[in-house]
């Protein structure tokens, strides 16, 4: 029992990254008393990301200063239910965020809307290839809303971010320079597309020559003088090369700090408490109503915070863990297939090719944003016919440069020595003269890939860690091998002096060591009924209707794209439903 009980609030927001800050902002003028609890520290552009201190690769890029501290809390990982899960002791594969702004501080800024088929994955695949095309253990399902329903919220999030890009489809009219596969949008991006790099130009030329459709990557990186709908002014990006793993010192990369918080902090009915780690959501004796949350403050005191509405807006993995620790919703059982909390965990399937050129080609990798590059969508989702290929999903193929950080982003040919004078020569000869072609692929959900609580390992507060049971499945390995051939075709057309291919083989197992993607998804998925999902389309818990669960934990499966576009849009969609429907008539917004 908590020793200290605080005054009740109307809404408590757990986790203060993108979704928590958007929820607070959208409800700030409703008169509700809103409290945000953030387990990490207070952070703002000044002083925390100030130049030149933030150009310190070792502190931020390698020692991971802005991320969750693994010594306090991590997850355990195993490949299959029969294995013993081991702690993810040293972060590599994915990097959960922490602190004000969360992962929204140190993301790359790649900003996508899903394709129409992405939101109707099960029905599209079934219609096109027949029901038997979906493997029996693949638990793919449709999102509970349509693209058209969500379009205004994608639009709004792009405007909040000051996003840059070339539209490819405005109201059904295809526009040269954009992505011809994108779903119809009502408006262009609020700021012009980012400048391209030389590597992107070479890739675009080769891809076009092969009949593909390359375009400049859309990004939450502001490229023109711009103020967003909240009245917050962003800065014009100067391509400093320190987006990925860093806070933006220039107010250009969209984060809660650069787009929401200056406006939100004006509201007197909003309060933020940092270093307040929520350990569970409290419910009443019926278990159908949340009464608030319990958190541990900086002094280690356990504090009860009563609230009428609880919003879980922590990182994807932690949201699922909080539901399990709070016993909200029925935990998923992989043996029976029953229960939903922890179900449909998914990740991303990436590959890459390193291209090495002679000194006649200079790529200046340090001049970049976290999202500079050229993409093509020709083999993503349902943009191509899978009929004869035998897999569901697809991947983007791209030439992106996210910075030229010399410790982490150094590329040398596989034949080069790892140390000694030979290594020195190799980094001298290759740093400016190499580029990459990469792929980012979708990952489908499976009965055998899920999240639950670990029986052995605990966090700094003595609570069970989340346990991840995940491995690559044949469908994704087939997909990535298909993509490898296509990517290699483009690379050959670019005619580098040498290239090294780095795609998963058909026998590959998930490896936590190399960084791959922080786009972990699922575990608290959205759906159209309580049997197939944890939350409804408004991200409202089916079991405890005054609990809302935001973020990538709600994705039924993972798409090839980076998730932040849908994460932001669905948070805005949920906030609108709370404001216009729930507050007047608290209770389930969708009848089960």
């Amino acid at each position: 029992m908590a020793a200290i009980k605080k005054d009740p609030v109307d809404m408590v927001i757990v986790g203060f990254g993108w979704t928590g800050s958007l929820m607070a902002m959208e409800l700030a003028n409703s008169g509700l008393r809103i409290l945000a609890l953030e387990r990490g520290e207070q952070r703002d552009t000044y002083p925390d990301f100030a130049y030149p201190r933030n150009t310190d690769e070792l502190t931020y890029g390698i020692r991971l200063k802005l991320f969750q501290n693994a010594s306090r809390e991590t997850v355990t990982v195993r490949h299959a239910t029969a294995d013993t899960a081991m702690p993810y002791r040293r972060f590599g594969s994915f990097l959960p965020g922490d602190g004000v702004g969360g992962a929204g501080v140190h993301w790359n800024g790649m900003l996508w809307r899903p394709l129409e088929a992405d939101l109707k994955m099960r029905s599209t695949v079934t219609e096109r290839y027949g029901k038997s095309f979906i493997p029996p253990d693949m638990t793919v399902q449709d999102y509970p809303f349509t693209y058209a329903e969500m379009e205004p919220y994608f639009d709004k999030f792009e405007k909040i971010c000051g996003a840059s890009g070339n539209a490819g489809n405005i109201n059904g009219e295809k526009i040269e320079g954009g992505n011809p596969f994108e779903a119809p949008r009502k408006n262009a991006y609020p700021t012009k597309a980012q400048k391209r790099q030389y590597g992107g130009d070479l890739f675009a030329q080769a891809a076009q020559g092969l009949g593909y459709h390359p375009f400049t990557l859309p990004a939450a990186i502001c490229t023109e003088s711009y103020s967003n709908p909240y009245g917050v002014q962003l800065g014009v990006c100067n391509y400093c090369g320190f987006c990925e793993r860093f806070g933006c010192f220039n107010y250009s990369k969209a984060s809660p700090q650069t787009t929401v918080l200056p406006a939100l902090y004006q509201h007197k009915n909003f309060e933020l408490r940092t270093q307040a780690q929520v350990i569970r959501v409290n419910t009443d004796s019926t278990g159908k109503k949340a009464t608030g949350v319990t958190y541990i403050d900086a002094q280690g005191q356990e504090i009860e915070q009563p609230a009428s509405i609880v919003v879980l807006s922590t990182f994807q993995l932690n949201n699922v863990r909080l539901l399990l620790l709070s016993k909200i919703g029925k935990p998923y059982d992989p043996l029976t297939g029953e229960g939903v909390v922890g179900k449909n965990y998914a990740y991303q399937m990436n590959g890459g090719i390193k291209l090495f050129f002679n000194k006649q080609k200079i790529f200046n990798p340090f001049a970049a944003t976290g999202a500079t590059g050229v993409f093509m969508d020709d083999f993503n989702s349902e943009n191509f016919d899978h009929g004869s290929l035998g897999f569901v999903g697809g991947a983007t193929i791209s030439a992106t440069t996210t910075g030229g950080r010399p410790i982490q982003q150094m590329s040398t040919p596989s034949s080069a020595p790892r140390w000694g004078s030979g290594w020195k020569s190799a980094i001298k000869d290759n740093y400016l003269h190499n580029m990459g072609v990469g792929s980012s692929g979708s990952v489908m959900p499976y009965k055998q890939c899920y999240l639950d609580l670990d029986p052995t390992y605990r966090d700094v507060h003595g609570q069970p860690l989340l346990r991840m049971t995940f491995d690559w499945q044949q469908n994704e390995l087939k997909m990535t091998n298909f993509i490898k051939e296509k990517a290699e075709g483009i690379v050959k057309a670019m005619a580098p002096d040498h290239y090294d291919v780095g795609f998963m083989g058909m026998n590959a197992h998930y490896d936590v060591r190399p960084y791959q993607s922080t786009h972990t998804t699922g575990g608290a998925i959205m759906g159209d009924n309580p049997k197939n999902s944890v939350v409804n389309k408004y991200l409202q818990s089916w079991d405890v209707p005054n609990v809302f669960v935001l973020g990538a934990c709600c994705f039924p499966q993972n798409l090839a794209y980076n998730p932040t576009g849908i994460v932001g849009a669905t948070a805005l969609f949920a906030a609108n439903a709370i404001r216009t429907q729930y507050l007047g008539n608290p209770g389930p917004l969708v009848q089960a």
Partner: protein
């Protein structure tokens, strides 16, 4: 600004000699100091008088010798030692990183397939302490001298064996020590000088990384063109 000392003795040799001269003779075991043969480059950034905080005399001699083999001074410029990388590694040992406070280090520890990642109970400080002791014992048995006193060829052979997993010890896997050492040596060589290595920005100059300049609007309009300015550090230090 650092005062440039006019002398015929290459500064890297000076650095090694002066650093080692701080070690009592008894601890140095009467053997000759680290063999020096690679051409040394000028370095004005490194303190000749650095006294290690974490490493003891034997360990420090190992760190100096091993860093010198992993990233030697050569025709491409200064190597790890004159750039201060041993100082960087020593400083890292006193930070939360060295104590393993950035990693989940709660028991139980068990071995697992490599794909499940780091599962050693050793934190960087202990990896070095136990690993260096084991290597020096091995060298004493094989060559009757510690690692730092061996010739370059023997040192390289030992490092290659560690790298390949051919040489391992009871308390610490040889590969674990090697990866720790190589990772930290490269970090120190390529990181901003504020952490103790890369004191003359030689590595950044060599590869063409402009450091903390962080403003490339104009360069984005010049695809395939060289960037005209040399590197600058966070503190405003520029390369010579």
């Amino acid at each position: 600004m650092e005062k440039k000392i006019e002398t015929q003795v290459p500064s890297r040799r000076r650095f090694l000699q002066k650093t080692l001269s701080l070690i009592p003779l008894a601890a140095a075991g009467g053997s000759s100091i680290v063999a020096l043969s690679a051409p040394a480059a000028e370095s004005q950034g490194v303190s000749d008088h650095y006294v290690p905080t974490y490493f003891n005399n034997d360990e420090w001699r190992f760190i100096l010798a091993a860093c010198d083999r992993l990233i030697p001074s050569d025709s491409n410029g200064p190597g790890a030692v004159s750039e201060g990388v041993p100082v960087f590694i020593d400083k890292q040992m006193e930070l939360p990183y060295g104590f393993g406070h950035l990693w989940y280090m709660h028991p139980p520890f068990a071995s697992a397939i490599p794909e499940l990642g780091y599962q050693s109970s050793l934190v960087p400080r202990e990896t070095y302490r136990q690993g260096i002791k084991a290597i020096n014992q091995h060298c004493q048995q094989q060559f009757q001298q510690p690692f730092a006193s061996l010739g370059h060829e023997q040192q390289d052979a030992i490092l290659h064996d560690l790298d390949a997993g051919k040489l391992t010890f009871d308390n610490v896997p040889g590969k674990l020590l090697f990866e720790q050492l190589l990772e930290n040596t490269k970090e120190g060589y390529l990181a901003d000088p504020l952490h103790g290595g890369n004191q003359t920005l030689a590595s950044w100059k060599m590869i063409g990384f402009p450091g903390a300049r962080a403003d490339y609007q104009d360069q984005m309009n010049l695809p395939n063109q060289p960037y005209p300015l040399g590197p600058v550090s966070i503190s405003g230090k520029r390369s010579v």
